[in-house]
Structure formats: structure tokens, C-alpha cells
């Protein structure tokens, strides 16, 4: 059966306006999903951004919640977002500003070493670079209740001052407010809603995970094939390891323009500043010359000398180093990677130095320290007491022993 033809279905001759109107209507109808989706995303995003900015879970503004980090302990992957949460918390008077080499120190551990009056927040994160380290130190300098800062001084200070850790959210800590919207990500939104739900404290759930990671790293490193590779590198680069870089103190802008002003500012306020030079193995200079700098050893030594000359005599400032001891830096059994100490006894000795004063570098003893390191590195023969070997000869699986580390 066919439908009857209705005259109403026909437009009168010459009538173009309804056709135009319907074309426009078709366009709007067809694009409605697209425009709706975009509008919805925009509205949701802006709403979430408004909530995050109002709640301020990173504590970067003068308003919003004032979240606390439980026991000063931060998950290692989130510490870079929570610098201000710790730095603005009056409950903490001691801050550890380090890198992956100090990430394992828990606040309880530090308290055990430094004494009961030390309320410690560990702001160590992996792969710090001069610019982000400077932003962190700036936050601490602005903290009026701070009494003690422990910071590590590693090879990254030989880099240009503008070098930044790719993961570091500099937008949270710079003076430009137009980029703050970038903080609206899933962890931040979740934290904002946690705070709205009444949970104002941040806790650290990753200690066990981190320990497993470190232990696995140690097991992976303590392997004959790894030692063979390192021994080969040592022999290959022995003649050039002590080569001069041609640099002088004026060329270390990250030290002169970023670190020294902050240390001076803290010293002037009577804040105790302990600068710890992390213990790198002697093999570190041979292995990492490959990807850091061919004159790594020379640059490291000059950088240390410049640091000692610049701030070593300031009141309340101490600089510590332990890598002139071959039993520590020469034995790869102590390390989970050429630049990362694993041995708990050495790790404890490292932080205990801030109370005992051992291993302190001064203008007077620095030449001896420098000579010792240069000589030890240039004459280094691979040693690993864990694998039961003391020469750079080809190791074998059979030589592996279960002896404890030094």
C-alpha cells in the first residue's frame, strides 16, 4: 500500500528559506554529539580544576586545605608534587633534600640517627637536576621554622643551571600562575577528593615496594657478567680517566648561582646545613664518563673544591665526604649500582656523620681528599668482596660467595 501524497509535503515554488533553515538544522543536529562531547569535557575539566585549586592538595596557595604528610614520609613517586606540603608544615624542622641515593632513609631512621628533636621530612627524589633542586631549596629557604637541612651534592651540579628533571612539575613551584592548571591530573584529583572526604594526611605506602626494588637491583648488579663489563671499561679508559676538563669555578653556574646563594641564606638565618657528597664507587667514574662527561672525575673534583671554597667556612655549614676510603668506594660489593650504595652499615655511617662530624671536608684537608680520590680512581682495580674476587680478571659463576659485605 502506498502512502497518500499530501500537498503539505511539497514546498511552494521558489521557497528557498525553509531549505536553508533545514540545512542549518541538519548541520547542527549532525555535529551535536561532537559539540556536546567537547562541552562536557570542558565543563568537567574546569569543574575538577576549580575543585583542585580550591582544595589545593599541593599546598602551593595561601588558601585551601593544609594537608600533612604522616611522619614526614612521602611516596617516592609523589614527593616531587608534595614539596610544599612538607616545606610549609611547621611540624618539620629538618629536611633531607637528596636523590635516589638518599631515598631509602625513612623519617624514623633519620630520627634515630639525629635525635628525638629532629622531625624529619625526606624530600629525596630520583634524578634531581639543578633547576628543580634549586626550586626545592627555594621553598625551604622560605620556611621560617626550618632548623636543619641535609642536602646531597652530586654530579648533577656540573650541569647547566637550566637542566631540569623531565618529570619534575616545575609549574607548581615557579612564579607563573598561568601554567598551574597542569596540576589537574588523576593523583591530584584523587587527593583533592580525599581531602574533601576529611582525610587531611598523606601516608606513604611504598616502603616495602621500594625495598624489594632496591634488593632486586642489588641482586642484578652483583653478577659476574656485570663485573666483567665494568672491569673491561675500567681497563679501556684507565689512561684517560684523569684527563683535565679545563673547567674552573666560574664555569659551575649551578653551584655559584643556585646552590651557594641558598646555602648562604640558610646559614645567615642560623639554619644548620649539612652537605653530603654521596658515596660513588671508583668504577662510577669509568662507567658514567660514558654518558655524563668524558672528564667526569676532573669536573667532580673541581666542583667539590669550588663548593668547599665557597661555603665551607660559613657558620653552621658542614660538608662531608667518605669516598676517599677504598674499603667503601673501591668495593663494588657495597653497591647496588656503581653510583648507589646498598650496604646498610655504610648508609648509616653516611648520615651519622652529621652528628659525629667524621668525614668533614675543609679548605685545609680538601687537597688531601682530592689527591686520594684521584689516585684511587686512576689506579682502580675492580674489587668485589661479595663475588669473592679482587682483581679485574674474568670472573666466573663459581667464584660467587655468600660472604657479607664490608
Amino acid at each position: 500500500m502506498t502512502k497518500p501524497i499530501l500537498s503539505a509535503n511539497f514546498a511552494p515554488p521558489g521557497a528557498r528559506a525553509p531549505v536553508k533553515a533545514s540545512l542549518s538544522a541538519i548541520r547542527w543536529r549532525s555535529t551535536r554529539p561532537m559539540i556536546l562531547a567537547a562541552s562536557l569535557i570542558t565543563v568537567i575539566y574546569l569543574s575538577l580544576a576549580a575543585i583542585v585549586i580550591a582544595v589545593d592538595p599541593h599546598n602551593i596557595y595561601s588558601w585551601g586545605a593544609e594537608p600533612r604528610i604522616e611522619r614526614g614520609d612521602t611516596p617516592r613517586d609523589l614527593v616531587i608534587d608534595w614539596i610544599d606540603v612538607a616545606a610549609k608544615d611547621p611540624a618539620y624542622n629538618t629536611f633531607l633534600v637528596g636523590s635516589s641515593v638518599t631515598a631509602m632513609y625513612t623519617p624514623e631512621y633519620m630520627k634515630g640517627v639525629l635525635g628525638p628533636d629532629a622531625h624529619v621530612a625526606n624530600l629525596s627524589y630520583g634524578g634531581p637536576r639543578p633547576r628543580d633542586r634549586d626550586l626545592v631549596l627555594d621553598r625551604l629557604v622560605a620556611n621560617p621554622t626550618i632548623q636543619h637541612v641535609i642536602l646531597t651534592f652530586d654530579w648533577t651540579y656540573i650541569q647547566d643551571p637550566e637542566v631540569t628533571n623531565r618529570s619534575f612539575p616545575a609549574f607548581l613551584y615557579d612564579s607563573d600562575i598561568t601554567n598551574d592548571l597542569r596540576m589537574v591530573n588523576f593523583p591530584t584529583i584523587r587527593k583533592a577528593f580525599d581531602i574533601l572526604g576529611g582525610n587531611l594526611s598523606y601516608s606513604n605506602p611504598d616502603d616495602a615496594t621500594y625495598k624489594t626494588y632496591v634488593d632486586k637491583m642489588y641482586e642484578g648488579f652483583q653478577h659476574p657478567s656485570e663485573m666483567t663489563k665494568i672491569a673491561r671499561l675500567v681497563e679501556r679508559h684507565r689512561t684517560e680517566i684523569g684527563a683535565s676538563s679545563g673547567r674552573d669555578c666560574a664555569s659551575f653556574h649551578a653551584i655559584n648561582d643556585q646552590l651557594v646563594p641558598d646555602v648562604r641564606a640558610l646559614s645567615d638565618r642560623g639554619v644548620k646545613v649539612d652537605i653530603m657528597i654521596p658515596i660513588a664507587s671508583y668504577a662510577f667514574y669509568y662507567v658514567r664518563r660514558n654518558d655524563i662527561s668524558p672528564t667526569l672525575l676532573d669536573e667532580q673534583m673541581i666542583a667539590r673544591r669550588c663548593l668547599v671554597n665557597a661555603v665551607g667556612d660559613l657558620p653552621h655549614v658542614n660538608i662531608f665526604a667518605f669516598d676517599d676510603d677504598p674499603a667503601v668506594a673501591g668495593d663494588l660489593a657495597n653497591f647496588r649500582e656503581v653510583g648507589h650504595v646498598y650496604d646498610p652499615a655504610i648508609l648509616r655511617r653516611f648520615v651519622t656523620a652529621t652528628t659525629t662530624g667524621t668525614g668533614r671536608l675543609t679548605r685545609d684537608n680538601f687537597p688531601t681528599h682530592e689527591r686520594a680520590i684521584r689516585s684511587a680512581v686512576e689506579n682502580y682495580r675492580l674489587t668485589n668482596s661479595y663475588l669473592g674476587r679482587a682483581t679485574a680478571t674474568e670472573p666466573s659463576e663459581n667464584t660467587r660467595s655468600n660472604s657479607s659485605t664490608s
Partner: protein, 522 residues
């Protein structure tokens, strides 16, 4: 601001759009274009007040010169002088602020002249200077669009209106920082059209799709390739031993990063312009699918290629040919003067346009020689005979295979932090350091590379997907390759809406760690 910044996407863009269409509805075209101009200046201010002042100064100088040479008659000798003064301003400001020529010539102790140049390189200076220079050349040649665009300049109001239009043309934010470098003949007919200023939902939908695709390319693909690139090129710079496989992965990762970074930007630029009812020239058309360097430059940064060809290569080549003819040079020197020399200069300028670095210089030399050589080979009887007899599919495959390696190596040199670092990377790629210490965990980069190169070689580009809606002005005609079944056509609907939502949400997941566009530094 950068396009992938949430502040730009969720605040600046909606506000600009609403203001533009509202003002257009109530006050008309000139005011709407003034809104575009003002919003573009606001967009640019975060790059620095000094840079913004320099932009305004460039606009004022170029507009004044263009207005003067449009009003002055051809018989007036001053017309040429004014034109040359305007172009001199463009060249000098580029050399001074971008290449820091005073510092190069006189060292860092040349006093205040160095101090002024010491400001950071103004963002987009290469792009807006080239666009301004092209506009001046059009004005001098009395291109018909210029007179129509400037209109009568008899009163203060008309001069202000013309300046607003000119400001919108040169500084329109979708193309201000990284192009495309647009000719007035592409912009003016659109703003003269009756359809301009009418809010067309298709424009919004096409624009949104381009923006979401572009953002995904940049934030999800390019930025996730970047860490591998930084590690490998950093290691190459200090002369590190690199495992050959990792050296190749690093070089390939940079290829992918540069591709998706620039492609992502180009898509976003087209989409943003389209939301304001404007079509811009296409700047990027699947360049890695090219069958040689000649084809490559018809697909990569196409608007720069055509500007350089128009203002540099063609005049040089014509001058070389004339010189050879007048002096009856032998075929070889004549050929060198009319093809090789102009070509080498052309590519040297393209290389140095990216910045005053030796790596760009070597990159320019590599591409100059390669382009000239390919031109010669394609002109030989042998090649023509092969082309006639061989299967186009096989020939195309071979040409692309031959094209890939030199492109990879030249882009690796382009990215290298020094020329020695570039050559060191080459030595590691073809070296035997299989016992070198691993620089990175391979799994993620290899997955990212597989995804990236699958998209590059198998998928149609955004312009092809959106071709039903004429998304861009075609700068060059290019062939499309890739499996036919993947060449679907986009049309607005729920499926596509879900699609772009996924792309945007995936991008927003990564956006909090995003670095700026690579081409922003050029």
C-alpha cells in the same frame, strides 16, 4: 601559551571563540578581526613582554611600509627605497634577535647592543617575520588582494581598521608561533566571503577533531618518545659508547618525535583556525611517505618551502641561468650556477632558519646536496626509462627504502647537540659496541616506536581523513599512500565524538608533564 596547555584549551580558546562570534554578530567584521588581533597578543604575552613589544613593532613597521608603498605611485623613486627599508628591518631584526649577530661578530662585550639582543629568542620571530616579508613583497608587486585588504586609508578610523585586519592576519594565534606561513591571497578571500563570521557547526566539529588528533600526537606519542631521544643524543654528545641497537632506537625515536610533534602542531593550527571559520594552508602531509627528498619537501613544512623557493631559490636560479646564458658558459658550470649553487644556498638558509648552529648548517648541506643529486638522477634518461618500464609499486617501494636512511641520518644530525655528537652517533649506529652499557630499558621505547611508525606508514593523515570538509588549503598536490581500507572518511557523529573524547582524555592524562613543541624553538 602553548596549544596543549589546559589554560589555552579550556579557558583562552572558548573565551576567544565566544568573543569573536559575539562581536562579529553585533559589530561586524572589522571588530571581529580586532578581537582576533587582541586575543593573539594576549596569547603571545606569556612568551615575554619584550617579545610582545617586538611583535607589535614588527607589525607597525611592516604595516606602515605596506601602506606607504600601496599609496605611493610606481613612478616615485622613493617607493622602492621604502620597500627595501621595510625588508631590511625584517632581515635585521631576525639576524639581531634570533641569530644574535652582534654577539657573534663582536663577542659578548659589545655593550648595550648585546644586552638588548640578550633577551630570549622571541617565540615565532622566524614565522611572523617571513609572513610580514611576504606581505610586503605582495604589496610592492601590487598584488590585488593587498589593496582590497588594506582598503581606503583616508581617515584615522580606516587606518586603525586596516591595522586591526593586518594584525589579525600576521599574528593570528593558531599560526603565530610555528606557522603555517600564510599568504594574503589565502587569507583575504576568506574574510571577504559572506560566509565568514557565520557560526557554522561543521567548522566547530572539524576544528575540534583536528585539535584532539593533534593534541594526542603531540602529548601522547611525541612526548613519550622524547625521553629515549634525550638519553641517546645526550650520550652521543659526550662521546659515549652506545649499543648499536640503542643508537638506532634513539635516532628512530627522534624521527618519530619530530614527526608527531610537528604534525600535532600543524593539525591543531588547522583546527583552531577552522573554528574561527578560516582555512589555512596545509603544512604537513605525511612526509615520511615521500619517495625522495624532492617529494619530502612538498610534504614537510610546505609553507616554508614555498616561501624560500619564491624569494630565494627562484631568483637565484634565474640569475644563475641568465648569467650563464649571457656569458655563454659551458654546460657544467652553467648547470652549477643555475641549479647546484642556488639549491645549496636554498637549503643552507632552510637549515640556518632553524637557528645559528653548526648542526643545522651540516643538515642544510646534506639536504642541499641530496636534493640536487636527486634532481640530476631523476632527469637522467636511465631513470626515465626505468620509470616507464618498472612497476610503480615496486619503484615506489625501492624509492622509499632508498630515501629512508639518508633522511634518518640527516634528522639525527639535525637533533644532535654538536656536529661531533652527530657523527659520533652515526659511528655508534654502524659500530660494534655490543658490550656497551645499556642506556635505557628497551621495552617501552620499542612499543612506542612500533605504534608511531605504524601510524606513520599505515594510517591516512588528518587532512585525508577530514577531506570531505575541505579542511585546508592545499599547498602542493600530494599522492596518498597506505592501505585503502584504512582510508575512512570522517563525518560528525556519536562514534567520532567518542573517538575524540578518548583522544582528549588520553592527552589530558599526560598533559601535566608536557614540554613545549620542538618547532617553537626555531
Amino acid at each position: 601559551m602553548i596549544f596543549t596547555d589546559p589554560l589555552f584549551l579550556f579557558a583562552f580558546l572558548p573565551i576567544s571563540l565566544i568573543a569573536f562570534y559575539m562581536i562579529a554578530y553585533f559589530f561586524g567584521k572589522n571588530y571581529a578581526l580586532a578581537v582576533l588581533f587582541i586575543s593573539s597578543v594576549v596569547f603571545y604575552i606569556p612568551y615575554g613582554i619584550a617579545s610582545a613589544i617586538l611583535l607589535i613593532l614588527a607589525l607597525v613597521v611592516n604595516f606602515s611600509v605596506a601602506a606607504a608603498i600601496t599609496i605611493i605611485g610606481d613612478d616615485n623613486k622613493n617607493r622602492r627605497k621604502i620597500y627595501l627599508a621595510g625588508q631590511a628591518y625584517n632581515i635585521i631584526s631576525l639576524c639581531y634577535f634570533k641569530y644574535k649577530i652582534i654577539t657573534l661578530l663582536f663577542g659578548p662585550s659589545a655593550g648595550i647592543m648585546v644586552d638588548i639582543a640578550g633577551i630570549a629568542i622571541p617565540a615565532g620571530i622566524s614565522f611572523y617575520t617571513f609572513q610580514g616579508a611576504a606581505f610586503l613583497a605582495d604589496a610592492y608587486a601590487r598584488e590585488k588582494n593587498v589593496a582590497q585588504f588594506l582598503g581606503g586609508l583616508g581617515s584615522t578610523k580606516s587606518i586603525c581598521s586596516a591595522f586591526g585586519r593586518y594584525g589579525a592576519f600576521v599574528s593570528f594565534f593558531p599560526q603565530l608561533i610555528i606557522g603555517p606561513i600564510t599568504y594574503l591571497s589565502e587569507f583575504n578571500p576568506q574574510i571577504q566571503s559572506k560566509r565568514f563570521l557565520r557560526l557554522n557547526p561543521i567548522d566547530l566539529a572539524v576544528g575540534l577533531s583536528f585539535i584532539s588528533i593533534g593534541m594526542f600526537k603531540k602529548v601522547v606519542i611525541a612526548d613519550n618518545l622524547a625521553p629515549t631521544v634525550d638519553i641517546v643524543f645526550g650520550a652521543a654528545h659526550v662521546g659515549a659508547e652506545i649499543h648499536p641497537l640503542q643508537a638506532w632506537i634513539g635516532a628512530l625515536a627522534y624521527m618519530g618525535q619530530l614527526y608527531f610533534d610537528f604534525s600535532g602542531y600543524s593539525d591543531m593550527a588547522l583546527g583552531l583556525a577552522r573554528m574561527f571559520g578560516l582555512r589555512y594552508p596545509i603544512n604537513f602531509f605525511s612526509p615520511f611517505k615521500a619517495n625522495g627528498i624532492i617529494d619530502y619537501y612538498r610534504r614537510w613544512h610546505m609553507t616554508l618551502t614555498r616561501v624560500i623557493a619564491r624569494f630565494l631559490y627562484t631568483p637565484l636560479s634565474v640569475a644563475g641561468t641568465r648569467y650563464s646564458m649571457f656569458n655563454r658558459l659551458a654546460p657544467v658550470p652553467a648547470h652549477l650556477l643555475s641549479l647546484w649553487l642556488p639549491m645549496l644556498i636554498n637549503f643552507q638558509i632552510i637549515g640556518l632558519w632553524h637557528g645559528a648552529l653548526w648542526t643545522f648548517c651540516v643538515f642544510g648541506l646534506m639536504h642541499g646536496f641530496w636534493y640536487a643529486l636527486e634532481t640530476e638522477v631523476r632527469a637522467t634518461k636511465w631513470y626515465k626509462a626505468v620509470k616507464k618500464t618498472a612497476s610503480p609499486i615496486i619503484l615506489g617501494f625501492i624509492e622509499r627504502a632508498v630515501f629512508f636512511l639518508p633522511l634518518l641520518l640527516s634528522l639525527a644530525m639535525f637533533r644532535s647537540e654538536s656536529v661531533s655528537g652527530g657523527f659520533h652517533l652515526f659511528s655508534q649506529m654502524f659500530g660494534t659496541a655490543i658490550d656497551a652499557r645499556s642506556l635505557f630499558n628497551m621495552r617501552e621505547p620499542v612499543v612506542m616506536l612500533t605504534v608511531a611508525f605504524s601510524i606513520i606508514y599505515l594510517c591516512p593523515n588528518s587532512v585525508e581523513i577530514m577531506r570531505r570538509y575541505r579542511p585546508a588549503i592545499m599547498t602542493y598536490e600530494n599522492k596518498s599512500y597506505g592501505p585503502a581500507f584504512l582510508r575512512g572518511l570522517w563525518r560528525p557523529g556519536w562514534v567520532q565524538a567518542s573517538y575524540i573524547s578518548i583522544l582528549v582524555i588520553a592527552s589530558l592524562y599526560y598533559v601535566s608533564r608536557q614540554p613545549p613543541f620542538l618547532y617553537q624553538g626555531f
